[in-house]
């Protein structure tokens, strides 16, 4: 019955570490880290795509080294916290910076990647996801910062946990407009307008209106419904493929909701219209969930180069990092 044609194929993230991020890493390295190689928490975000021709980006910026309010232990009012920009969603990361090219090369990458994957799985098993769904979005980034020459080498890993069986669609993919009427779509837009939740639930009410809720409202939303509808904020713009965040979410659903056999997934792409561009339409998938699905113990998601090979990336900022300016900044 299972033909490979129905296996959902997800579009990978591309990392986009902003120049301001590398500046920040340089000054961190000079002032704070020095020769320490301790892992550092970093926060990234992803947003809805504004163009069919852009990859889904996982972005890091000047404020990526700040913690979020819930990550920081002492809630000092003067502290600054990381907050994703509006209509963007948090991804929790760990940065491993190495002092030498050799250390970078020899770093235990597979283990670090597995650690991050395990953490996701533990959060799924323990129910932490219900409290904070952003814990499904994790990444690691390994760096070697050659700050003398303003050169950076880096490698991103954005783990998607592989289920024992890949998830498959059991009905053709349709558009949001084919699924909901205008009124309902309006409700969806306005409910998600300022939402920071990357994953959500959609309930069809008796009066044909819809409600949008957080994933911990499951029991009150889907009492005895055969095919519940869930949604996620999709950074991908392709008309037949969802983005990366759906992967861990589906594994979470099949683990946390073993009685659900089928689920409808709204891949929500907001309604952002940019000059000269068409609105990117949201799509709706019908997915089979298998109650025997577990994490296979394997995961994928290392960032590849243009040849599809797992390889570090390189960036030189010699042109934007004038040593004199840098020196005056770091005093």
């Amino acid at each position: 019955m299972a033909t490979t044609n129905n296996i959902i194929q997800y579009k990978e993230f591309s990392s986009l570490a902003n120049v301001s991020f590398w500046h920040e890493l340089s000054s961190k390295k000079l002032d704070v880290l020095k020769l320490k190689e301790d892992p550092l928490p970093v926060n990234a975000y992803y947003s809805y795509s504004t163009s069919q021709q852009l990859d889904p980006f996982l972005c890091l910026e000047y404020n990526s080294f700040l913690l979020t309010k819930s990550q920081s232990s002492n809630n000092n009012t003067t502290d600054r916290y990381f907050e994703p920009p509006t209509r963007s969603f948090l991804s929790n990361g760990i940065l491993y910076n190495y002092n030498t090219a050799e250390d970078f090369k020899q770093s235990p990458k597979a283990k670090l990647f597995e650690d991050a994957s395990k953490q996701i799985w533990n959060d799924i098993k323990s129910g932490n996801i219900e409290k904070d769904p952003t814990l499904l979005n994790r990444f690691i980034v390994l760096t070697f910062a050659d700050i003398k020459n303003h050169q950076f080498y880096y490698l991103f890993g954005i783990p998607a946990l592989l289920p024992t069986q890949p998830f498959e669609t059991i009905a053709p993919t349709v558009t949001l407009e084919e699924t909901y009427n205008e009124q309902q779509i309006q409700t969806l837009h306005s409910s998600l307008q300022s939402s920071t939740l990357p994953f959500f639930l959609i309930k069809n009410n008796a009066d044909s209106s819809i409600s949008v809720g957080s994933i911990d409202q499951w029991d009150s939303y889907f009492n005895d419904i055969e095919v519940p509808t869930v949604g996620f904020c999709d950074p991908c713009a392709l008309s037949s493929n969802p983005g990366w965040p759906l992967r861990n979410f589906l594994l979470y659903l099949s683990t946390a909701r073993p009685n659900v056999k089928k689920v409808r997934v709204v891949c929500y792409r907001a309604n952002i219209k940019v000059s000269g561009e068409q609105t990117i339409s949201s799509i709706v998938l019908t997915v089979a969930l298998n109650s025997n699905t577990e994490w296979s113990g394997k995961s994928v998601g290392w960032e590849k180069d243009t040849n599809g090979k797992i390889a570090p990336r390189f960036i030189s900022l010699a042109s934007t990092m004038d040593p004199m300016k840098l020196a005056s900044q770091s005093v």
């Binding site: 490979t4 959902i8 194929q9 997800y10 990978e12 591309s14 990392s15 986009l16 902003n18 120049v19 500046h23 947003s47 504004t50 163009s51 021709q53 852009l54 990859d55 972005c59 000047y62 600054r80 920009p85 209509r87 090219a101 970078f104 090369k105 770093s107 990458k109 070697f144 050169q151 080498y153 998607a160 592989l162 890949p166 998830f167 837009h189 392709l238 008309s239 037949s240 493929n241 992967r247 907001a270 952002i272 940019v274 000059s275 000269g276 394997k298 994928v300 290392w302 590849k304 180069d305 599809g308 797992i310 390889a311 390189f314 960036i315 030189s316 900022l317 042109s319 934007t320 300016k325």
Partner: protein, 320 residues
């Protein structure tokens, strides 16, 4: 910069008279922009660089990852018609700022369209070359990559690769070379595939555009930061390829961004107020009451003349 420090902050509105903004009006206009165009956000920037005349969380405006598909040169050669419907704003030819015509029948856009700005007849070149969508010749690959490679001593990345790192073959990862998403442009004879079509997503340059408040000129100031198709920062000379030739070396310069401390290209604001003043006057002449909170929409419309191929948003969206 020192001049800016000693310039007193503008406190009374001179929007109608001089086309300038107070910091409060900048915030007002920014609020409307971020509300209507959701790709724009307010940013706080580096706290040590905060300016006191603006709220801490509204230091500057930013729109990220804005696609920029073609170079200005190709636009100028290929489809001059697109920017041909220019409305001349200024009388002296040399320094004229021009506003492009957009094909947007949006409410506010129409209002803007109604601005018959020129005193002379509007300069319209031929609009008959509809067939500008010729397939790109395969020989001219998408960009000037050889140039890049020369300047950037790219190290041998194999020295950094970890051969032990392999990944499971995964049927659920959308492979880059599988064309799930067919990119065939139209049914006609445009089936020629260019090199970039191997991938299902056509890679393009992107820009981060930020708008700061310039206390000296009392106008917004636009900063550009560009990335190439592989998300590497563009060099200044590459950024100039996306700035219209009329303005590239006259009005665009590189300096350190006031809230980020990183070198950015910026559009020099010395003539912004004058142009805005003209646009505002035309609006009133047409019986429209210029609104200071719409300042940035007008402003971004004329900035699009300088950077015609960077597709940032300045249209009024549906009301939410």
């Amino acid at each position: 910069k020192t001049v800016e420090k000693v310039t007193p902050t503008l406190t009374t509105s001179k929007f109608m008279e001089e086309g300038v903004l107070t910091p409060e009006e900048f915030v007002q206009a920014g609020d409307l922009l971020t509300h209507k165009c959701q790709t724009w956000t307010w940013e706080s920037g580096d706290p040590s660089r905060n300016v006191p005349h603006l709220p801490k969380d509204k230091q500057f405006l930013l729109t990220r990852n804005v696609p920029c598909y073609t170079r200005v040169r190709s636009l100028e050669n290929e489809s001059k018609a697109q920017i041909a419907d220019e409305i001349k704003i200024d009388d002296d030819d040399e320094e004229a700022w021009v506003a492009p015509k957009t094909n947007n029948n949006d409410d506010f856009e129409e209002k803007l369209e109604n601005l018959k700005i020129d005193n002379t007849s509007t300069t319209t070149t031929t609009t008959t070359n509809k067939d500008t969508d010729k397939p790109k010749p395969t020989t001219s690959n998408d960009d000037d990559d050889d140039e890049d490679d020369d300047n950037d001593e790219i190290p041998d990345m194999d020295d950094f690769a970890d051969d032990n790192l392999v990944e499971e073959e995964d049927p659920a990862t959308l492979s880059k070379n599988k064309s799930n998403e067919s990119k065939t442009t139209s049914s006609s004879n445009t089936t020629t595939t260019t090199a970039a079509d191997d991938d299902n997503i056509l890679r393009t340059r992107t820009y981060d555009i930020s708008i700061t408040y310039d206390k000296y000129y009392q106008t917004p100031r636009v900063w550009l930061f560009g990335y190439d198709e592989n998300r590497k920062p563009l060099k200044p000379e590459e950024i100039f390829e996306d700035i219209s030739e009329d303005h590239a070396h006259k009005t665009v310069t590189i300096d350190s961004h006031p809230h980020l401390g990183i070198s950015f290209a910026y559009i020099h604001p010395c003539r912004h107020a004058a142009v805005m003043k003209k646009l505002i006057d035309k609006q009133s002449e047409n019986g429209k009451e210029p609104r200071v909170d719409q300042y940035l929409f007008l402003f971004l419309k004329f900035i699009s003349v300088v950077i015609p191929t960077i597709e940032y948003d300045f249209t009024l969206e549906f009301d939410t």
